[in-house]
Amino acid sequence: MIAAAAAANATIHVPAIRYLAIMPVIILLGGAVLLLAAQSLVRRPLRLRFATVSTVVISLGAFALAWWQWTDVMDHGPYTTIAHAVVSDGFSVLVTVLVTSAMVLFALVAEGYLAREGIEGSELHVLALVSASGAILMAQANDLVIVFLGLEILSIALYVLTAYNHKRSESGEAGLKYFVLGGFSSAVFVYGIALTYGATGTTNLTQIASFLSRNVLVHDGVLLAGMSLLLVGFAFKVAAVPFHMWTPDVYQGAPSPVTGFMAAVAKAGGFAAFLRVFVSSFGVLRADWRPIVYVLAIVTLLVGAGLAVVQRDIKRMLAYSSINHAGFVLLGLQAASAAGVSAALYYLFAYAFMVIGSFAVVAVIGRSGDMEHDIASYRGLARSQPLFAFAFALLLLAQAGIPFTTGFLTKFQVVVASVDGHSVPLAVVAMGSAALAAFFYLRVTVLMYGPERAAEEVPATATAGGALFAPASELRTRLNAALLLEDVPAAPRVAAAATGRVPVPPLAAVAVGICVLVTVVFGVFPAPLVDFAHKATLLFLP
């Protein structure tokens, strides 16, 4: 549309810009540039503390602006700007709040990690800031081209972040895999844009919607092909099965703090654009895409939960668990209703805190080298570090959906939206997968609170309490069998390490504390957050 106008007048026409709408993006990007400039102006690498503090300040600045945007949107309603390419509405503001909070938490977790791994410089922070701005842009995009722009800004920075730990070969391998597959799916996505443009004559989301509502295209092949390509592009980004296969490898290989960031921010950005494009632009075609999402959701839920069960590596397990969560968010999309979108937003918001907190713990327990990710490393953690173990247990239980955490309401709301959308079998599958998922969250929890030694060494008297009909030792063996842990050794190396406390960097502890606090406080008093997501959806453009 801009291009058409420019061609007609043969002069460059600068559209009006309302800067408040893009201020958070500008702050994050500008901050990244400043940080990079500061880095290049001094001879030695920037001090880690400086990078952390400036990242936190930049992110908090964007966070504050997001709240300003919120009051603005609440007072004056949503609007589009820059020739209708960018939108500022409740939906985008919620994602901005999410991404900037995730950014703050990431900076807190990363400091301890970088210090421990001995990685210098502030490039990690710069890349994360850029990536975050991409995620926000995706949520604000009102044009497929801008969606693509945001997607690429988000992704390219993430490829580098994944490969950031040059001391681990897995890190580089994961980065390369992610890059190749990401490039592949981006190509698919761009092709989808092209086909959609071909069918509707525009890339603007609002205009696509109005075009589709004005013209009755009875199963236009080009349009449907374009839509399916877009769907695949998004499904790759949010890791829906069968476009998920990069996820376990990348989550495992990436530095642990980056994994948490990726799980929260990339998923939020991807789903934000996914929801906006499909629910509002392709809303008219929902009869065509809802069945696809239906099947995608079922497969994603089951594969995510099922494969997580058999994982021994905590990062891979959490990767599959994140796939399972993506399946739940797909439930909200599949409902294709205001309630569904609101539930999905709430899900993403609550999940961001749970997953960043979880990976913060993983980053700490990974110990020097970021290698100790066998679940056996969590044996007896409750005894040596009760508070830390308790926080992790809470975050895991929240992911399992235990009441009085935000995790319960997340699942509850998407399932309700799904049932209201007459997709009862889907809701039933989702709940079944949640039951399955509870297993692997509980397994880690039980390990943490179990004895430090392996099964056979435990004296029978140690468990006198629970044994009703079986002697304690048999009970223990059965427990191990039930947890699929027969083959988890006491791991002499781990046992030696586990006897000593793992040093917990103070800032990481703060981050975990914030995550737990958000998860529990809004679990007990859900009203503010539910309200936030609800209002965000009310002010949803187009």
Partner: protein, 630 residues
């Protein structure tokens, strides 16, 4: 002044929080003082709030305030707020007041206990929960308080959990209460399904929309809840066992405050109860029968605290009877008076137990009047008060209940009078066995004479004296000839459309009062004559009464044993074969299929890309098939 009312709940909560964090470090006795000061503060706030409420005109004496929205999901809107009216105000006053005194007493009583600060943590949490229960303007939040007091009760009964009897008594109390709680929950569900709200004022305003059957069901379910919490038939058995807890706990939770929560709940819901006369009859009969049965049992118990426990059950039976009659004000009057004298009786008993080094058997007491003068003097007031001797508080309160019941049903009234005789009898028996006669405790039990009892320290004496004064003069709250200035006119507006008003002539009322007085004197003199010399009269303590009408054995036979058999079957067959089988089957299935799917996860990028392509192909094929098929 009313705006600070929330502090009544917040101060004990703050005390709780401080003690949780610093309790161990504060230690003995500082932790106790922190807890006591917090609750005293709540009492002071209650007094200030009372002043505020008093200054309002009688018709405008209610105050609601919303603090925050707790749950807002779809149709369910739960706001946390307080609902202050004369009823909840009265409850708050005596709950915080008595609690403060018992906290003070506990500083002395719990001295040198190994878990001193923990005791006050629970106690403060209890006061918070109780105030929450009383003040909440929402049934769900009331339920939170209801569960909170139940939880604290459980913790405190089992406080000395190294003793098996204490641990199992705690469990028993918890299980019995759960049955009642289930009734409460179902009532809440029913109300919500019919009215779509749990907000108390809204429920009262729309009570007619409940419909006849639902109203009766709600009333009966709330009665079930009340029988659990307030230890009425059929769920009264837990209270005597609850005496395993420290004596201040028995005084506070299992005599003065928590056990009256059930009666309070019924009073609170009076406008719903008013719509269902049938359910009210059930309430009245349960109250009357409980009062009688418990009084008979109390007359032959040997453990001083058990006597008091059954006496509590019996007295709450009177309150329930009054509620069933519609004489809510009389119920509250008796509740307040009972809180004073029963707390005093327990504290006095605690002082005896303390002095005799944990001796609770009445048969090993006797002649304590000389060695425990303070305890003796204050106990005297409490004894006469509960026996119903004019002009002490018990006489007026019980008389108020009975004169109302007379109009409702002479049969229940007669039962009440018989119970009154029994009450005077068992209390006199207790008093005589403990304070008069030989000093049986001095007889060597195991060869050497025990050291003489000692009177308690001042922190324990002060509450005794304050409560003795209150028990003596508590009747002035609502003397029958000045109904216009007392509790009646104060509480009147709360029960305006549901109160049972007795229009008896002054003559009839005086007659009934004389009968009450005579009943008290009869019971008192019979017991005095029977137990003054003898301390062992097996004929007067039949096994049937000692074993609580075989009530526990009955439950054990019809519920306990079959339950155990069922549990065994469930554990071995149902759980072992069916459930474990299903779970293991699912687990195997997941494992097998997962390891199959896992093989796709090769680690090669080309395979992953192939996955994407295949998925894409499937999606495109699906959509294009729609084009072709249409």
């Amino acid at each position: 002044m009313l705006h600070i009312a929330y502090l009544m709940a917040l101060l004990p909560l703050a005390g709780f929080a401080v003690l949780v964090v610093f309790g161990k470090r504060l230690g003995d006795p500082l932790a106790g003082w922190v807890g006591t000061v917090a609750v005293f503060g709540a009492f002071v706030v209650a007094c200030i709030a009372l002043g505020g409420l008093w200054n309002e005109p009688a018709s405008a004496r209610h105050f609601t305030e919303n603090y925050f929205s707790w749950i807002a999901v779809g149709g369910l809107q739960v706001k946390v707020g307080l609902f202050l009216d004369p009823l909840s105000m009265t409850m708050c006053l005596f709950v915080t007041g008595v609690s403060a005194l018992i906290h003070l007493y506990s500083i002395g009583y719990m001295k040198d206990d190994s878990e001193y600060s923990k005791f006050f943590i629970y106690l403060n949490l209890f006061v918070f929960s109780m105030v929450l229960l009383v003040l909440s303007d929402n049934l769900l939040v009331t339920f939170v308080g209801w569960e909170g007091v139940g939880l604290c009760s459980y913790f405190l009964i089992a406080f000395w959990h190294e003793r098996d009897s204490a641990a199992s008594a705690g469990k028993k109390a918890f299980v019995y209460n759960r049955i009642g709680d289930a009734g409460f929950l179902i009532a809440v569900f029913l109300i919500f399904s019919k009215l779509g709200t749990l907000d108390l004022p809204t429920i009262f305003a729309h009570r007619h929309a409940l419909g006849g059957d639902a109203t009766t069901a709600v009333a009966l379910l709330l009665l079930l809840a009340a029988t659990g919490k307030s230890a009425q038939i059929p769920l009264f058995n837990w209270l005597p066992d609850a005496m395993e807890g420290p004596t201040p706990v028995s005084a506070l939770i299992h005599a003065a405050t928590m056990v009256t929560a059930g009666v309070y709940l019924l009073c609170r819901m009076n406008s719903v109860l008013a719509l269902t006369p049938d359910a009210r009859w059930v309430v009245a009969v349960i109250g009357g029968v409980t009062a009688f049965v418990a009084a008979t049992i109390a007359s032959s118990q040997q453990d001083i605290k058990k006597v008091l426990a059954f006496s509590t059950v019996s007295q709450i039976g009177y309150m329930t009877l009054a509620v069933g009659t519609g004489a809510y004000i009389a119920a509250i009057f008796l509740m307040v008076a009972h809180a004073f004298y029963k707390a005093l009786l327990f504290l006095g008993a605690g002082s005896i137990i303390h002095g005799l080094h944990d001796e609770q058997d009445l048969k090993r007491m006797g002649g304590l009047a000389r060695v425990l003068p303070w305890t003796y003097g204050t106990f005297l007031a409490a004894w006469l008060a509960i026996a119903g001797i004019p002009p002490l508080a018990g006489f007026w309160a019980k008389g108020d209940v009975l004169s109302n019941v007379f109009r409702k049903s002479p049969v229940l009234w007669a039962l009440g009078v018989v119970t009154a005789i029994l009450t005077a009898y068992y209390m006199t028996r207790l008093f005589v066995l403990a304070f008069r006669g030989d000093q049986r405790w001095a007889h060597a039990v195991s060869g050497h004479a025990p050291e003489p009892p000692h009177e308690c320290p001042w922190v324990m004496r002060v509450p005794l004296v304050v409560l003795a004064v209150a028990s003596f003069a508590g009747g002035i709250l609502d003397l029958p000839f000045v109904h216009t200035a007392g509790l009646s006119s104060w509480l009147g507006p709360v029960f305006s459309n549901s109160l049972f008003v007795d229009h008896e002539g002054a003559g009839l009322q005086s007659g009934l009062a004389v009968i009450d007085g005579v009943a008290a004197v009869i019971g008192l003199s019979v017991a005095w004559w029977a137990w003054r010399r003898e301390w062992d009269r097996p004929a007067l303590e039949p096994a049937f009464l000692q074993r609580v009408w075989y009530w526990d054995d009955f439950y054990d036979a019809i519920i306990g044993r079959p339950g155990q058999v069922l549990a065994k079957v469930a554990a071995t067959t149902v759980d072992g074969r069916v459930i474990d089988g299903a779970v293991n089957g699912v687990a195997t299935l997941v494992r097998k299929s997962a390891s199959g799917v896992r093989r796709l996860q090769t680690g090669y990028v080309r395979n992953y890309a192939l996955g994407i392509v295949l998925g894409l192909a499937a999606v495109v094929a699906f959509l294009l098939s729609r084009v072709w098929w249409s």
